[in-house]
Symmetry: D2
Subunit: 109 residues, 4 copies
């Protein structure tokens, strides 16, 4: 992941995109790509949503949006010096304390 983050940074630098890549803009771009991922699923039933990888066309589209979301997340973290994996590991530890395993209902926040 660190290697991909560096490649993305070089890719943007070589195209002089640094001026566009403020944290604010990268957060917006991330949410736009997340919206494009939601769009694939918006009219599907829960069951249909589990079968999107069975058709090559929708499978490719889903993978493409996943790549876009991850690309902007890594670029956002690069811009602000955030360790995404470290942040997630800390969060999981906090959540393991907050939501003991027998919990009913659902909330991850």
């Amino acid at each position: 992941m660190a290697r991909l983050q560096r490649r993305l940074a070089q890719f943007a630098a070589a195209r002089d995109w640094g001026q566009y890549h403020t944290p604010k803009n990268l957060a917006a771009a991330l949410s736009v790509e997340a919206g494009e991922l939601v769009e694939i699923f918006q009219w599907l039933t829960p069951e249909e949503s589990g079968r999107v990888m069975a058709r090559p066309e929708s499978a490719h589209r889903v993978e493409d949006e996943v790549a876009d979301v991850l690309a902007y997340l890594l670029q956002f973290c690069e811009a602000l010096g955030i360790d995404a994996l470290g942040a997630l590991a800390s969060k999981i530890e906090r959540n393991e304390k907050r939501f003991p395993a027998a919990e009913n209902g659902h909330s991850m926040e």
Copy 2:
């Protein structure tokens, strides 16, 4: 990253959250968290957005939302058997061909 993906899967399984974690719902949850990340930046100037990590309170909030976005992205990929890093590596290769380094303007799609 693979290790965190497994921990998230165990975390959800132990709480019987699998029923909620359809790809459709996880994509929606990812976009909700991306929206919460955007919220932090929505009224900031581009310059202010570059300084969010300087204040402990906003730094913590940003890291927390990054963790949430990554958590739902990994859970989404787990549910559909997608290799996020592989999808991103393929995308970067395609983009390196599509956007030669002297390109003006900006577009990553």
Copy 3:
């Protein structure tokens, strides 16, 4: 609707919020509020999502997010001189031509 649009404009002007209310920021704020609306529904089944108004607490939350989405949409249109109702009427006319009534499947774009 025009009257509410004016009240929102006066409300923002009286608080000197004009500096924050660029079209870019208002579009981001609109998407953030739309995300908060999605959040209410994210773990619900399609059937449960049809019953959110039956509980006073979730009914109030839904109405509150609807108000926020509409508020930012109107402020966005105010900032750019857009006639939202006119834009929608034109779109409906175009769609009535593009999607004759016997159409299968779903797409509104």
Copy 4:
């Protein structure tokens, strides 16, 4: 606005789209369209964002996304029996009490 809401309802009914138009799906569709609106602005400076209506191509794109956002908002409200204008009027009244006019900073929630 009520008239447009009825036309949208007839439009969807004539195409048998009612099955897709659960509140959950309509909220997701609304957020997807809000994301498409953000996309237009994502790499623009605040100043550039104020000039999007000066170019016919981007002006048309902005109006089109405004129409889509409003269309899904009205269909969402139709599905749940929500009076969007009434909800906004109530919210403005509450906010006029919560944020007296001399307020510094910015928050609308």
